[in-house]
Structures are given as C-alpha cells and as structure tokens.
Symmetry: C2
Subunit: 150 residues, 2 copies
C-alpha cells in the first residue's frame, strides 16, 4: 500500500517534469524537464535551456538544483527528491552529488550520456535512485524530437 502511494506520487511529479520537457520541446530545446520536491511542496521546476542561453551547463537538473537551493536558502537538498525525465549526465550527476539530494527519480535511461555508465559513483552515498518512472513517455518524447531533427 505504501509502495502504491509512493508510485502514485512519483508518477504525479514525473508528469510535472514531463510538462517541463514539453515546454523545452516547444522552445526547440532537447526535451528534458525536472522538478524538485521537498515534503509535498514543489520548490523548483526547470527545463533544458542550452540552446536559448547558448550554455552547455543549462541542463534541466542544473537549473532545478540552483532554483531549489535558492528556494530553501541553503545549498544542500538533503530532504528533497529531484524528478527528471531522462537519466542525468555526468555533469548533472556530479552536481546532484554535491547537493546531497535525498533521492533521484528518473524516467528514461540514457545509454549514450547517462551517469550510471560514465560516473557511477557521482551521487552521494546516501542518495537513493528510482529509475523507469513513466519511462515510455519520457523516452518517446526524446525519440520524437531527434526523429524530427533528422
């Protein structure tokens, strides 16, 4: 029962991350979205802005981490969960490691750039990870984006 509640909550917040990913797509950005939740409060929402800002560091997770810390008034996200539609890259996983975020939930794996392959110990040792929440929707959004680009 507890597991079902958690799954329902995870899907609810992942839908919000997906809404951010759709906003990225509409702006011509690679469709990745993220939200940070603290207790039951959303304290940050962000989407990829690398093209708009001409800035390779402007991934959804990086902006969400900065915005969440700003919202909390401190740099650590110890009681927070970050939801992101796609597996974080090395850079974002490194940032999540510094943030000491409690939990990371992602949708689709990223075989080409995902941290699990290239920086598997990047997260803090106490951070828990759940993968595959609304995986198909998250993956489809990325696949459709790159199909249109070809």
């Amino acid at each position: 029962m507890e597991k079902d509640n958690r799954q329902t909550k995870d899907e609810k917040y992942m839908r919000m991350a997906l809404a951010e990913a759709h906003a990225a797509q509409e702006a011509g950005e690679i469709p990745v979205g993220a939200v940070v939740v603290c207790g039951d409060r959303i304290i940050a929402r962000a989407h990829n802005l690398t093209e708009t800002l001409h800035d390779v560091t402007a991934h959804a997770e990086m902006q969400a981490i900065t915005a969440a810390a700003d919202s909390l008034g401190g740099k650590y996200l110890k009681d927070c969960t970050l939801y992101v539609t796609v597996e974080p890259c090395t850079m974002c996983a490194g940032a999540l490691g510094w943030s000491q975020v409690s939990r990371v939930v992602y949708g689709a794996p990223d075989d080409k750039r995902g941290y699990t392959q290239y920086a598997p110990s990047a997260l803090h040792t106490r951070t828990t990870v759940t993968a595959g929440v609304l995986e198909d929707e998250c993956r489809r959004l990325m696949q459709d984006f790159f199909k249109d680009k070809r």
Copy 2:
C-alpha cells in the same frame, strides 16, 4: 623552444587563475580559480562562489564556461583553453565535456573529488589535458585554507 613558450604561457595564465583563487579565499570560499583563454585573449575569469551563492553548482569552472560562451556568443569552446588551479570534479569535467573545450590545464590534482578517478572519460575525446602547472602553489593554497578551517 616551442615547449618553453607554451610552458611560459601556461604559467602566465595559471597565475591569473591563482589570482582568482586568492579572491575566492578572501571571500571565505574554497580557493579555486579559473580563466578561459581563446587565442591570446582572456575571455573569462571566475572563482568558486558556492558559499556566497548558496549554490553547489557555482564552481569556478562552471562559471568560467558560462562566461566564456557568453563572450563568444556560442556554446562551444572549441578553440579555447581552460586553466584551473585544481583538478576539475565530476560535475565540472562533465560540463567541460559538453563544451568541447580544446584544452584543459590544471594545477594541483584532487585525489578526493577529481574527475580522473571518478569520471575518466568525461572530457571530449579531442580535448587535451596538461596537469601540474604551478602545482605546488595551487596545492598550498588549498592546504592552507583547510588547515585554517580546522
């Protein structure tokens, strides 16, 4: 002779990165500084601001990458060298990878957080790396900072 010229240039720019690191130290920040050079022009200078901004992503390299891209008007740093006083962490190496920076020059190695140990393939395959420029000075600055903190 060419090697000597390069070494002289590397030390010159590393001194500028060290000046940034001293500025960080004076602000109570972990003393890490970075500069980005394109041709013979310095296009970005930055130092660690994680405490001031309450933002774990505000490492010297991250800010230098963003500022350099802003200066160039594009997100890639293909003809640039980033100088940084300490070996980049996983996050910063991931960002440098995305930036496709031509060359990374660092001073002191970071055995605890350095990318060479935790994300050895984070940089772009075409990026060259020079380690150990003004290594002693860069290391001493860090050691003195953490000694004072104890």
